[in-house]
Amino acid sequence: MTNRIAQLRKERRISQAELADAVDVTRQTIISLESGRYNASLLLAHRIARYFGLAIEAVFLFEEEDAP
């Protein structure tokens, strides 16, 4: 699963700390999400998408290889 968090954040000039604060996670979690090391839970994905005013699928890109 890839995501557009870094891209959306840069477009809107939001720092990782600000995003972390808004969605109630640590900055390290945002760093891990952006680098693709960690996949967000549905709840966190929903919070991040809502923060950007987008649908989850517009932020998190699900690929067929991700399917179990």
């Binding site: 109630d24 996670v25 640590t26 390290q28 979690t29 891990s32 960690y38 967000a40 839970s41 709840l43 966190l44």
Partner: protein, 142 residues
Amino acid sequence: MKKRFFTKPWLPGLGLGVAVGLGAAAVVLGERLANPVSGLCFGLAGTLGGLSGSRLIMARFDRTWTPEERKEIERAERDERNVAIREKAAYATWYWTLYLLWAAFFLTLVLGSGFPTALVSVIIVLHCAFYMVNVNRWSKQL
């Protein structure tokens, strides 16, 4: 929400006092106490002293934190990535403990000692039984 171990602020102080009392009693009474009782006193004193002491130290740090720092620490505590890390670490630790127990079991077999072999076997069974109990418990909750 997890319950804190010490909910009352005076409990760690009381715990430390009891620990010191138990330790001192075991030292003063010495030979007059039966070995298991003496061991129990030292064991309880160590456990209680460790828990209470660490809680007192944490409370000391707690007072020095600014509201922002406290907020950040609380966030880190419930952060879903940190929770996932703790769960993965606990899962891996369960297996490592099991391998260590099996190693200890075979070592006791090689050394030909009866009671330690039986003891390690019981611990292995309990280790696996607790796992199954928790699997059952969580399968009902999730």
